[in-house]
């Protein structure tokens, strides 16, 4: 009896398990194996094994600068998403319908537009002949070109990542007792103090989980840096693409991909730890 009941969960999770093994674990393992293969420019992937892909990547300032840039862009994007998204979520939660629905749609809007179309829109705005540059020329400040800079990547990333910050924060605010703020006011707190002392500590969990999503997605973003960063400004995902599709050095690409994966995983795990510790404190 017990044997049967204990095997039932396994049986029920079988489809998911097969899917996970086939679509995630298998390709990852293959990539890991590939990253240890030797490579020759004339022959291609060799059958011998080596660590040289990793030593190349980790000792080459070119790759290191790309890793560093990836982390920096992901970090700045996350910070900006917190700075913009948290107040926005708060304001949204204080809105009445129909405005709330309208603004929610505006916020989720970027996710409904293809990344190519969206990036194309940004390049028209940010390019040297774009709207912003033209406006700056008209004001006598000379042309500005934001396109193909880290700023362009960050702007476009923040644009599309904001919903991932706003929605968890908004959900956290929705769960709060609406009487909390009036209670703080009645005790003499100003509006700002009430938000800082009462609301913020309780939605910090939402902010942290939003940051986790935004950071992870930004660090592995591909289309936006590819389209708005140009040929020179590479991020981790675009350089992996280059190794695979242009250099045809698959083992090196696999090694880069693996390093990025591990680095990302480590950062997110450490962060998750922090969230859990915090959750234990807030929720008990």
């Amino acid at each position: 009896m017990t044997a049967r009941t204990s095997s039932t969960p396994w049986f029920l999770s079988l489809p998911g398990l097969i899917f996970f093994l086939g679509m995630v674990v298998l390709p990852l393992t293959l990539t890991a194996v590939l990253s240890f293969h030797a490579y020759d420019f004339n022959i291609g992937v060799l059958d011998s094994y080596t660590l040289s892909n990793y030593t190349t990547v980790l000792s080459d300032p070119y790759f290191l600068s790309i890793f560093w840039r990836t982390l920096r862009i992901a970090f700045i994007t996350t910070v900006l998403c917190v700075v913009i998204g948290v107040p926005e979520a708060y304001i949204l939660s204080r809105m009445w319908n129909p405005w709330r629905s309208i603004f929610l749609l505006v916020i989720i809007g970027p996710l409904l537009v293809s990344v190519v179309v969206r990036s194309f829109g940004w390049s028209m705005l940010l390019g040297s002949t774009g709207l912003i540059s033209k406006a700056s020329i008209m004001l006598g400040l000379g042309p500005v070109r934001i396109l193909y800079s880290e700023a362009a990547i960050v702007i476009a990333l923040v644009h599309v990542m904001l919903p991932f910050m706003i929605i968890p924060v908004w959900t956290a605010i929705q769960k709060l007792d609406p009487g909390l703020e009036p209670a703080a006011w009645s005790l003499g707190a100003s509006r700002f103090t009430a938000v800082r002392r009462i609301i913020l500590p309780q939605i910090s969990l939402g902010v942290l989980s939003g940051s986790l999503i935004v950071f992870g997605l930004s660090a592995s973003s591909f289309a936006i840096p590819g389209l708005l960063g140009g040929r020179r400004l590479k991020m981790a995902a675009t350089v992996v693409y280059d190794e695979y599709m242009h250099e045809l050095n698959w083992p090196l690409g696999a090694a880069i991909a693996f390093i990025v994966l591990v680095a990302n995983l480590l950062i997110m795990l450490a962060y998750n730890r922090m969230i859990e510790a915090k959750a234990r404190k807030v929720l008990g």
Partner: protein
């Protein structure tokens, strides 16, 4: 001398009048209950006093100072919310201390006053707990301590006991009254529980459809309800429709006596009679005859349903020595002192409610 004055205070949402020109004067140290059915505008009235809802018209004056448009954090009133609204990420002591921090009270004095407030509500041992680790009644007492520690001129309570079970609720009613009398804070409590309002307040204000219909001491509200609605809302009441006579009414050919008879003779009127003012007498005696159709035991008293020519009459009989005046199915007579009955003119509104 009135301490808190509401002067034709009104709140209009769109084309709906939630609170309609409420006038109220509360003296210092008084405990006033706002009583009324759901949706009659009690919370809205309280929120206008607290500054959490902006009045559409009228003024609020506190101790001679008009505070109608003042922000809630400048009024300094203590508020206990229906959901308590304790800060879940702070301990009991931190919750109580918050208002003092906002007032920039020094550390040492803050600790002293927090300890005092917690002792007042008998929660000194729970200072380091989080709200989620407390029972409903304890949370409610934290909310009271938090509101009282800032020594507010007025304490506002919005249905503070409605989340508690019947037993705890009764205990907390007395507890609330004890605390209020110890501290002497002017208190306004919203409730839809008539028993609660009658038992612990100095004065009961009854609201109906956004209007204040009676404001009086509990016994007066009970014994001399201003409207038929109040008479049936507060306590049990037998309302017998009929035609007004000089001293009583005629209903279905029976003459029912009453001394308090302001209705015009010959007009349609209602005779109101509390169940506990009726005595059961042997069949053939009394003002009204009927048959006992049901009997209910309540510990301290019995309730009899008696079917009569004028409809079903409820009679309450005290359980003093365990003796019973009648059993089910037995014909009985009903008697009362004419002073206990009240006749009022049948208004348009009351006839609509009956219909």
């Amino acid at each position: 001398m009135s301490f808190l004055t509401l002067n034709s205070l009104s709140k209009i949402y769109g084309n709906f009048t939630a609170v309609d020109a409420v006038d109220l004067e509360v003296s210092k140290g008084e405990f006033v209950s706002l009583l009324g059915p759901s949706g009659c505008g009690k919370t809205t009235t309280l929120q206008m006093i607290a500054g959490l809802a902006e009045p559409s018209a009228g003024t609020v004056t506190l101790d001679g100072r008009e505070i109608t448009r003042e922000k809630p954090n400048r009024r300094g009133l203590g508020i206990v919310f229906q959901t308590y609204a304790l800060f879940p990420h702070m301990t009991v002591a931190q919750n109580v201390s918050f208002g003092l921090e906002m007032r920039k009270v020094g550390r040492a004095e803050r600790d002293r006053r927090v300890a005092e407030a917690l002792a007042l509500v008998k929660l000194d041992r729970f200072a380091d707990r989080y709200p989620r680790q407390l029972s409903g009644g304890q949370r409610q007492r934290v909310a009271i301590a938090r509101a009282l520690v800032i020594e507010p001129p007025v304490l506002l309570l919005d249905e503070p006991l409605s989340n508690l079970d019947a037993k705890l609720r009764e205990e907390m009613q007395f507890e609330l009254r004890r605390i209020q009398q110890t501290v002497g804070t002017t208190t306004i409590m919203v409730t839809h529980d008539q028993g609660e309002a009658l038992s612990i307040s100095d004065r009961v204000v009854v609201m109906e459809h956004g209007r204040m219909t009676q404001a009086d001491v509990p016994a007066a509200v009970y014994d001399h309800p201003a409207t038929e609605f109040i008479s049936s809302f507060i306590g049990k009441m037998n309302n017998i429709p009929g035609i007004a006579l000089k001293l009583g009414i005629r209903a279905h050919g029976v003459i029912l006596p009453a001394t308090d008879c302001p209705a015009t003779e010959g007009e349609s009127a209602v005779l109101s009679l509390r169940p506990e003012r009726i005595t059961i007498v042997p069949a053939g005696q009394g003002h009204l005859h009927g048959v006992v159709s049901a009997r209910f035991f309540f510990g301290s008293h019995w309730l009899f349903n008696v079917d009569t020519a004028v409809g079903q009459i409820i009679v309450s009989w005290p359980n003093t020595d365990g003796s019973l005046p009648a059993s089910q199915g037995q014909p009985v007579g009903l008697s009362w002192l004419p002073e206990s009955a009240r006749v009022s003119a049948r208004t348009q509104e009351t006839s609509r409610i009956d219909a």
